[in-house]
Symmetry: C2
Subunit: 439 residues, 2 copies
């Protein structure tokens, strides 16, 4: 039997803010793409673009097939985006003509038949653009989006890969800091404010409600952007918790908004200060509490630390991150482009889920807000439904190898593909690099 | 052979800012105190004061001997201070007459023959006061300090229990966040500033130099309070790293000072802003970089999250924390009061250490600054000596049990001892609660 002729090549790229488990998706996808197949289509070589779609435009590609299996497997315990990410939106037609022509040219030069864009809602549009526009440029490609975002705001997916791990780290940190706070509260600090990511949605802040068991969550207070921030109600809630429990631990989303829609950080803390803020909703809330309640406050801003905390990744999240990568390859080989593998929840207890293909048109550039029913009536704690939703997502501790006391991460060679195009990429005009989100 | 008569009772208390491993000291001390002994002195029951010396004054004591062995053993993986801590300094004589009389009265009522105060430099003075002053109040007691502080500033101890774990968490977080940053730097964020604790000393910030291996630490920049902050030099250092590596990760101690001794946060960022800061050196540095270098910056303030991160404790730190607790009991039973068990380093590789007794007079209320030789010539990175010092302290991952995806902590009964004194404690005058450190 003659050897099956190799299939066309595939290209993988990472986009948007990275997560603790996006590289697990890379591993799943690359490994699945390299699996020998007895029948049907196969993938030739699997390449990766450096820094997302920018690497495609620049013809800055590396050969993932040339990496050792051990190095690729180590992606499972490596945070950040191993191939580089980007914040870059392709301009729509007709303005994007030069871009799409260039992409078709790069794809043709390297015989790219499959494109996988690993990102969030914004990146889904790029994948959709390539699926629908490239045929007009003479190079049809099977283009898929592969989900990833700590924001958990992808429409149509029960959870977004990356979210379970950031939720686990944030809830753990708040549980640990609460133990610290409880021991200091008698004669020192009584309130701790922890700021988590979430410019428009409160998924991470809400997940912090798991920090204490349901029967002990009295001292917790959750603040999400979906519920307008009210200064008086906030201070009353903190004050009541301190009076009753001796202390109060607050989880606040960075994007808290006032009733008029302005961000708290932009508004200078509800008019308390008139100057530009140096950033951070936590220091604002802390100052409010200190001034009005006259208690000692500590505050923390987790920022990148939360979304990079692979050392405490959720085993469920890691499994889902790998699974969407594998599913994307299977969909592609079955000829299903212009979709994203999403996660459908089948049951809460025990948690069961499966992967489905969602058409990109239905989800790109939309955001899924936190449903109100996941919070308690006063909005400051988790509801029973909220616990049922979040708890399965943080279960299990994904293995993390250490050496010399620190986490070990993958070391890829990132061997550059030889450039085949004569002209380098030149960005038309001086289009600013906006990115869907400013994070 | 008749049963040996029980010895006098012992009292344990926690003081100052807590750590991820202070409860491991509690476990070691309580377990050691309860060990049956064939000869020599023994301890009767082991009690704990709630909220440090305040619990002694208030006669707010609990019976640690009544806790189950399983609950006590779980202290090894529980952050915070399980018995409550305090920020409270006893006034010296003659002003403190009422305090010492009260303490003698409480000790007499509960037959306390041994007192163990688990804290830092400030708490050592309290232990020393009780050792030297209580005899004049008719109740001599064997009083010891037991070391604990994330600040690593205890004079005469190679390392302070609690420090190794915070160093491990901070260095891990910076390593993980650096992986994140490196993947965003091409088209988005180029600088990440992580603020760690350290009001007067740069031990934690310096330990962050371990985040990258020695041959790759080019993009790192360490800022410690021992070296005066210079705005121009800082910006040049960041700029050079971004130019060379594409990104720069900064670890900054909260207590950075200008050349004139003012704290950066108090000075409003070297005169950039004229108003009171809401706190945090990281947002100040981030604003400086953004304004002057015109690059996108992310910043994080770890605060309590770093010192409570028991889920990532150093195995070496945990062993040392337990060992100082056990050593304190052995010293006490040998009649050696007015000392603190400290850690002496015997060798770097492999790391070997032993415990010695240091007289309290020599170390109380002093602070150990970071030696200059642990940093590189330009002060922005670790020296070889710095790596040799810090590396052994973060080695090993201390076990942490999880349930439902979150760390499991000890649940003590904290059974109150029946009060024997008629009068409650009343603080003389309205003395403010200062605390040695404002943290």
């Amino acid at each position: 039997m003659p050897a099956k002729p190799p299939g066309r090549n595939a290209l993988y790229a990472q986009s948007g803010g990275v997560t603790a488990t996006i590289n697990a998706t890379a591993w799943g996808l690359i490994d699945e793409a390299q699996r020998p197949r007895r029948s049907g289509l196969a993938i030739g070589r699997i390449y990766a673009a450096r820094n997302g779609i920018l690497g495609v435009l620049r013809e800055d590609l590396v050969d993932a097939s040339a990496e050792s299996r051990a190095a690729l497997a180590a992606l499972r315990h490596t945070p950040g985006g191993a191939f580089g990410s980007c914040r870059y939106d392709l301009p729509p037609l007709p303005g994007g003509h030069t871009h799409f022509a260039r992409i078709a040219e790069v794809f043709r030069a390297h015989d790219i038949g499959y494109f996988f864009y690993n990102g969030g809602n914004g990146s889904a549009e790029t994948a959709q653009q390539l699926a629908t526009i490239l045929p007009d440029f003479g190079w049809p490609v099977i283009s898929l989006a592969v989900p990833k975002t700590i924001d958990n705001d992808i429409v149509g997916s029960d959870v977004s890969p990356g979210f379970g791990s950031v939720a686990k780290f944030a809830a753990t940190s708040l549980r640990e800091a609460s133990a610290d706070l409880a021991s200091m509260a008698d004669s020192s600090t009584r309130v701790f404010v922890m700021e988590v990511m979430g410019r428009n949605t409160g998924w991470i802040a809400a997940a912090c409600g798991l920090a204490l068991p349901a029967d002990e969550d009295g001292p917790l207070l959750l603040l999400v952007p979906e519920l307008a921030f009210d200064r008086a109600r906030f201070l009353a809630a903190v004050s009541a918790r301190v009076a009753r429990h001796g202390w109060c631990a607050v989880a606040a989303a960075e994007g808290l908004r006032l009733g008029d829609g302005r961000r708290l950080t932009m508004a200078g803390g509800d008019g308390i200060t008139g100057h530009e803020q140096l950033g951070g909703v936590a220091p604002l809330l802390a100052a409010m509490i200190r001034r009005e309640l006259r208690v000692k406050v500590h505050w923390s801003v987790l920022d990148y630390v939360q979304r990079a905390a692979r050392h405490l990744a959720s085993a469920v999240d890691l499994a889902q991150a790998e699974a969407v990568g594998r599913a994307a390859v299977r969909y592609a080989l079955a000829g299903r482009g212009n979709v994203m593998p999403v996660i459908r929840r089948i049951a809460d207890r025990p948690y069961r889920w499966r992967i489905e293909a969602a058409p990109l048109e239905g989800l790109m550039n939309r955001e899924r807000p936190l449903p109100r029913r996941l919070l308690s009536r006063d909005g400051g704690r988790l509801s029973t439904a909220g616990r049922a939703y979040f708890l399965p997502l943080i279960r299990g501790e994904a293995a993390q190898p250490f050496a010399d006391g620190l986490p070990v991460h993958a070391r890829l060679h990132l061997r550059p593909l030889r450039r085949r195009l004569a002209a380098p990429w030149r960005e038309p005009g001086s289009r600013p690099n906006t990115g869907k989100k400013a994070r």
